[in-house]
Subunit: 323 residues, 2 copies
Amino acid sequence: MAPGMDSVDEALSSSAGRPRLSGLLASASDEVLLLGLTPPRRSASSAEAAQIAAVTLARLDGLDLDGLVLYDIDDESDRNPEQRPFPYLPTIDPAVFHGTFLSAWQKPVVVYRCVGKYPEDALSGWLCDIEPGQVLSVFVGSSSSEKPVHTTLEEAHALRDKLRPELMLGAVTITERYSRRGDEHLRMLAKQARGCSFFISQVVYDVDATKSLISDYFYACTDRGLPPRPIIFTLSVCGSLKTLAFLKWLGVDVPRWLENSLQRSPDPLADSFQHCVTNARILIDFCRNLQMPFGFNVESVSIRKAEIEASVLLAKEIRTMLR
Amino acid sequence: MAPGMDSVDEALSSSAGRPRLSGLLASASDEVLLLGLTPPRRSASSAEAAQIAAVTLARLDGLDLDGLVLYDIDDESDRNPEQRPFPYLPTIDPAVFHGTFLSAWQKPVVVYRCVGKYPEDALSGWLCDIEPGQVLSVFVGSSSSEKPVHTTLEEAHALRDKLRPELMLGAVTITERYSRRGDEHLRMLAKQARGCSFFISQVVYDVDATKSLISDYFYACTDRGLPPRPIIFTLSVCGSLKTLAFLKWLGVDVPRWLENSLQRSPDPLADSFQHCVTNARILIDFCRNLQMPFGFNVESVSIRKAEIEASVLLAKEIRTMLR
């Protein structure tokens, strides 16, 4: 290898020899696998957070992930007047969790940013600190138009363009918004025009509507001569009726037949696992057939151990299905 | 075989050795295959109608059908202010078509009756004339609540109960009504309580919503200790954009991804055929898993030759998938 190529290689390849996440997403030709994590609650001590990080990384050992997604949890109770099935607990800043407790994680992370939570100088400080090869981000707007925000999505994009244009930025896409308003694919195009180069979906249970969203997005791109950007589908198992209630509270459309099936199942976690595998299969076949770039992000919306462990098994299963 | 068993055997078995349709539907344990036909237009001469019947029966030769469905076409333009993509043409009465032109057809027929079209004495005359072992019926109510009717659905049911209680009666079920109002499964229960012992769906393109309808119906039955009655899913290929427009005019929900796919396909008929096979597979797996009795009715909503021939091939393909 010629001298000087090392650094290029380092930027594009992970230790396992797969190109780095930003390379995968930039080329939009590979099928990406991520795992989504919620940082520990803010009340955890440093020792507790370190312990959680160690247990988590041990769980992920042997999973050939392309990266982690670190969520930025916001109190979205303004969005839904119903009682939240799991209580809202403030969590450690995902960038802090990454920097302080996940140093053993060598691969990229996608740091979510609910930008409305942060004053501009806090966002600027973080933007200046990050290492763009290692960190990607998804900016999330406010959960409701009434909620007061420190920084709008537009302002956050302008800051990134000014301070860190090389930061690879993704955006959220929501099937349920497509089902209600029918224009989510156009919102995706607008986000793409603002510099977003990939999308991460909310938890997908309504696969048929998701196929329609992808189809409309794909053809809207091709009709405009734009290359479609990768969509990373988020899957989460649902191991109990409480988790099902939480998914619905979060605004996830669970098809009625699937809800009935989980409600009447003697083992909802095992059934839900199988449904997630089936859903992944349907989305993989659909995207490959359309030549739509895609990937998966596996998370557990519940913090129950059985569901977290099942999500790791699900990621393992999905890796065998991806190219 | 003991003397006297012949007639029982004749009543329950077709020439091919499969039990007769009414037996299949009564036992609700078999998977039924029907083919739906629209009678020739009323302006056809007797010679033309006979010729159409002969061509049709020749097409069906070798198909192991359990019966035919003969539609009673009504002018439903009151239901939809948009222009009907195919013009409405009055058609021969399905019972007349059966009695006069389909005498070579030895198996049962399901005669649709848009009951609002007929005065009570006309319905009574037909009811007295039919041979219940050979003929089943589906009573269809008015296409809109404003439309004046000669006989209501309730009156038609009362007539049948009085004159021909042994006539096996089915009812229509509509996924799109379930999607809009959410109570179609309860309407099915009400129809069951009025004596309907099977259901024939409108053309199914929205398979996911249909699964939800079946699921809600199945569990509504089991929660009440009622045996679920068979649902016969109607499938129709869609070979052109005009047929697609007609399906939508008829009120069929075509998932957006499927609509996009057909609109952009170089061969919508072949693609639609494959989608119908896939949809049949999904419905078969779902119903078997739930232990929900079911069957299929294959029709062509278009009168184009290529689509009619494809519907016969589709019925042939589905027969290989059924037990």
